[in-house]
């Protein structure tokens, strides 16, 4: 069975940060169409701080995710601080004592993060938020593994589902967050959080696939 070594996989968080920082302007631009245009700034600030702290330290994935969760939660504020803060903290907790991460652990990790976000944000699929990326991604992963697909294949399907989930937000009316006051005027644009979530899941999945043994 395919597994990833937890120790030294902390670099995955550095790639995540790079993807977010590279897309900083794009994320703000999307947010600016129906929100206040700061999503890229907020995200890049948080992920940038973390990358500087963990780069080259050869941390375990658990430790790197814990650092990420804590920084987002305590130093970023806004909507993303608590939401992604909780998600990454929950991720970290699930793999804290695990040396080798298999698909089952990975799934437990995803679910814990998802539950954390739902508890504090109380959004639902279809509200035009990052959940429209995260929920179908988790479902696709679970479905693949339950169908007996390999960890590697399941991760590939996760990314595809995340991206189509992200794209689905174009046709949604925002029901939560700043954009919700726009009503129908929020149609026709991507949700910023859904877009950053797809980036995050892609880096996490590809980093994991690269490290599968």
């Amino acid at each position: 069975m395919q597994k990833m070594n937890n120790s030294a996989a902390g670099e995955i968080v550095v790639s995540m940060a790079r993807a977010i920082i590279d897309n900083r302007a794009y994320l703000s631009e999307i947010d600016g169409k129906i929100g206040d245009g700061d999503h890229g700034i907020n995200m890049a600030k948080g992920f940038g701080l973390v990358a500087d702290r963990i780069r080259g330290k050869e941390l375990s994935l658990a430790k790197a995710l814990e650092t990420l969760g804590t920084v987002l939660m305590t130093e970023i504020g806004g909507s993303m601080g608590p939401l992604y803060g909780v998600m990454f903290t929950e991720f970290a907790q699930q793999i804290d004592q695990v040396d080798q991460i298999d698909s089952k652990t990975f799934s437990r990790m995803l679910h814990a993060g998802l539950t954390g976000i739902q508890e504090i944000g109380s959004a639902k699929v279809g509200d035009k938020t990052l959940l429209d990326t995260l929920v179908p991604a988790v479902e696709a992963f679970d479905k693949a593994t339950s169908e007996g697909k390999s960890f590697d294949e399941a991760l590939e399907l996760l990314v595809a589902a995340a991206e189509s989930g992200r794209d689905s937000t174009v046709n949604l009316i925002a029901r939560i967050g700043r954009a919700s006051r726009l009503g129908e005027r929020s149609l026709g644009v991507l949700d910023a959080g859904a877009t950053s979530c797809a980036l995050i899941l892609k880096e996490l999945s590809e980093g994991t696939r690269d490290r599968l043994q």
Binding site: G78, P82, I173, I176, R181
Partner: protein, 330 residues
Amino acid sequence: MKKFMNTAETMVAESVEGFVRAHEAFVVFGAERKCIRRRHLTLGKVALISGGGAGHEPMHIGFIGQGMLDAACVGHIFTSPTPSQIIAAIEEADTGAGCLLVVKNYDGDLMNFEMAIEMAGDRHSLDMVVVSDDIETSRTGEGRGRRGVAGTLIVEKLIGAAAERGMSLAELKQLGEGLNRRYRSMGVALNGVTVPQTERKTFALGPGEMEMGVGIHGEPGHVRQPFAAADAIIGHLCETIADDIAAAPGMRALLFVNGLGGTPPAELYLAYNSARRFIEERGIPIERSLVGTYVTSLDMQGLSVTLALLTDEEIALWDAPVATAALRWP
């Protein structure tokens, strides 16, 4: 984008420092500048704490002082403060009777304040009042409901006065939430705003356009309309508000015309004159008034109208002394 600023990164910190220096008699920075608090706290009084993103000045820091808030936290522009800021404020301001956190209804604020409560709740008695006076967001008919906008000032003033009189945490929360069906705000913008860090306008309006139903985060409103005469604009705001508010016999009206940052006093007074006429024509005599720039959206040219229907007791709390940088009466 022309603003009086040095760098987008330092703008909030410099502005808040200026505020604290200008009002040294009322306020001091908390440790590590995580919050701003009253210079003199009252032992055994429930502490009132609020906070939110920057860009809404003088709210909330301008409301710190005798008769209103005990401490406030400022986030980045339009970005909620962090739980650790909020916890710092709780630790500075709690003098034994616990803290009531006044939170504007908005996911970012709610989540950060809730998280702070969770993290500090074992060491302090804490509770939360959620302000949700904005009219337009309710139009979607679901979700988290109305935002907290200019009505926040009214909640903070009333519970601030009540706290000064020794009311308990539970009573104060009830007082704050009791207003819920009895106050409404609605805003209009004649232009969008530029968030300094992005250097982009949140929305751009042509010379003949306006946005009806805007909030205080620079987002577009409910609908874009042709620009019109003040009476037409204000009439629409007043009607929408008055239709949505729960009028009850014996209630006494407070009318608050608030500038969003780029609107000069003369226009606010003209709008107040118009609003007062419209509201009184609906049979609601105005007994208390406030006109000024208190709850802003950066430099937005625009205003909001808030109507609150108060009990005799609440009117007495409104009239009670207040000594803050932005609101002051004996």
